[in-house]
């Protein structure tokens, strides 16, 4: 199967971007350099094409019930224009995908954003369960008809407010509004994946070039910087920090208990989570600061006194803190902050320390 090209592919090719395959999409890794793009987002603003993400709309009288039963968070608490982060679980409590759920500002129904490559599976999951539970709700996979960009950084809100035809600067975090950007209808949400303020903007794919070019004075950023930014922010990557087959994890293991609402009547995976909350998870996600030289990469073993106690799931050199950082899972007894670990970096044992994985706060306080 060949790679899908995002609506903005020609823009990126014309900008001489380096490309990679991500989730079945041919996406830019970098335009200038990962480090310079990363710094642009931390210091001013950067713009990302995230059209590879999915968009699924859910409508009908039972839409809230269906959303509530298939995600972990409290969907019924969403007012019009509110959004929330959530997990989508299997019956055994393991995470299929994480997602942001939006309640539409002005009409009944929801939009949720599965990760790249997962849209078809999620749309059909929603339809299948609506049928199974005899709920009057339907899911529509809009991914091929939509584009999405993100503008992130301390100057991002100002830049998007300048480009939008309606006021957006007063939108609170995790709120969305409808507006137009150069006449293209957009859903603008104050959400993001970088640890900075900013917006994610969804629009019909035919409008992609217009919306992208409305911000042509903002530094284009690729998936390389997207990864270094989200890692510094302590955000997980679906398919890498958890994966239904290769790295099955419950929200409690993955540090995502804060998006689980066990007071909900029913949702897929609830029983398993209740049991795990009671017993405690055997393994835990930790943040890791590498004390020696070398990047701790996906799959590298984590040791304590020569015994393997876990493995790395994501790692990079933090451009902001100039130190290698990583996420990984370890036996729960070694998950405490300041625990001394060793990482096996291609045969070399390198010292490391457990730190709270919100590196922007944790490492920021130490400088």
């Amino acid at each position: 199967m060949s790679l899908q090209k995002p609506p903005l592919y020609q823009e990126h090719a014309a900008a001489d971007a380096d490309f990679t395959d991500f989730g079945g999409w041919e996406m830019p890794v970098s335009f200038e350099s990962i480090t310079s793009e990363h710094r642009a987002v931390r210091e001013s603003a950067g713009i990302f094409d995230v059209s590879h993400m999915g968009e699924v709309s859910v409508s009908g009288p039972d839409a809230t019930e269906l959303m509530n039963r298939l995600t972990t968070n409290a969907v019924e608490s969403l007012g019009p224009d509110d959004a929330q982060y959530a997990c989508i679980l299997r019956e055994d409590g393991s995470i299929l995908d994480d997602t942001v759920v939006y309640r539409y500002p002005d009409e009944e129904g929801y939009l949720f954003v599965p990760n790249a490559g997962n849209d078809a599976e999620m749309a059909s999951r929603w339809s299948e369960f609506a049928r199974r539970w005899d709920l009057d709700a339907s899911a529509r996979n809009l991914t091929d008809e939509r584009g999405m960009i993100a503008v992130q950084g301390p100057d991002a809100v100002e830049r998007v407010a300048e480009g939008a035809d309606h006021p957006v600067e007063d939108l609170s975090r995790f709120s969305a509004a409808r507006t137009t950007i150069d006449d293209v209808p957009c859903l603008v949400a104050r959400t993001g994946y970088t640890g900075e303020d900013g917006f994610e903007i969804i629009f019909p794919s035919e409008g992609a070039e217009t919306v992208w070019r409305a911000f042509d004075d903002v530094q284009p950023c690729g998936l390389g910087a997207r990864d270094t930014l989200r890692l510094e922010a302590g955000l997980l990557l679906s398919g890498q920090d958890f994966h239904p087959e290769e790295e099955p994890r419950t929200p409690y293991e993955a540090g995502l208990g804060f998006v689980v609402d066990l007071s909900k009547d029913r949702f897929v995976g609830r029983a398993e989570l209740e049991a795990q909350k009671e017993a405690g998870a055997d393994e835990q996600l930790v943040g890791i600061r590498v004390e020696g030289s070398g990047i701790a990469r996906h799959g590298y073993p984590i040791l304590v006194d020569g015994t393997e106690v876990g493995h790395v799931t994501s790692g990079t050199m933090s451009p902001t803190f100039d130190v290698p950082i990583a996420l990984g899972y370890v036996d729960a007894e070694y998950a405490g902050d300041e625990t001394d670990l060793q990482i096996d970096i291609r045969g070399r044992t390198v010292e490391a320390t457990v730190v709270n994985h919100r590196f922007l706060e944790t490492l920021g306080n130490n400088t």
Binding site: D16, V29, S30, S33, I34, T35, G224, T228, S293, G294, I295, R297, T316, M317, P319, P324, R346
Partner: protein, 127 residues
């Protein structure tokens, strides 16, 4: 993309360069290689005195994206290692043919080696 290929040195298929200097040979990686790697964050170099046969991996260059072994273009003994580049790995990106140099080697069999590529041959390879 136009890559720098200075005419004053030899090259290898694996994108190292070799520059003759007063009896020993200075080694680094070419512009193409630093561009492929992206932001270089660690440079692992051997100690002075270590010896390698032609084609042996003598070090590792690590970027955010990738880890890459680097190979000696000719066999010999390491007579100098560039400490600055270990502390400032970004020099390899910024100035791969100048301040980004890695080691100097005293070549056992001299540097006239048929496997070394001329600038022209290397340019053809990377086009």
């Amino acid at each position: 993309m136009e890559y720098d290929v200075p005419d004053d040195r030899y090259y290898t298929e694996s994108h190292e360069w070799l520059e003759e200097r007063n009896g020993s040979a200075r080694i680094g990686i070419a512009d193409f290689a630093q561009d492929e790697l992206g932001d270089i964050v660690f440079v692992d170099l051997p100690a002075v005195g270590e010896t390698f046969a032609k084609g042996d991996a003598f070090g590792v260059i690590e970027s955010i994206k990738a880890v890459s072994d680097i190979y000696v273009p000719v066999g010999g003994e390491i007579v100098d290692r560039h400490e600055t580049v270990v502390d400032e790995p970004e020099l390899v990106n910024d100035d791969p043919f100048g301040e980004g140099w890695l080691v100097e080697i005293e070549a056992t069999d001299g540097i006239e080696d048929p496997d070394l590529l001329s600038p022209e041959e290397y340019r053809n390879q990377i086009e």
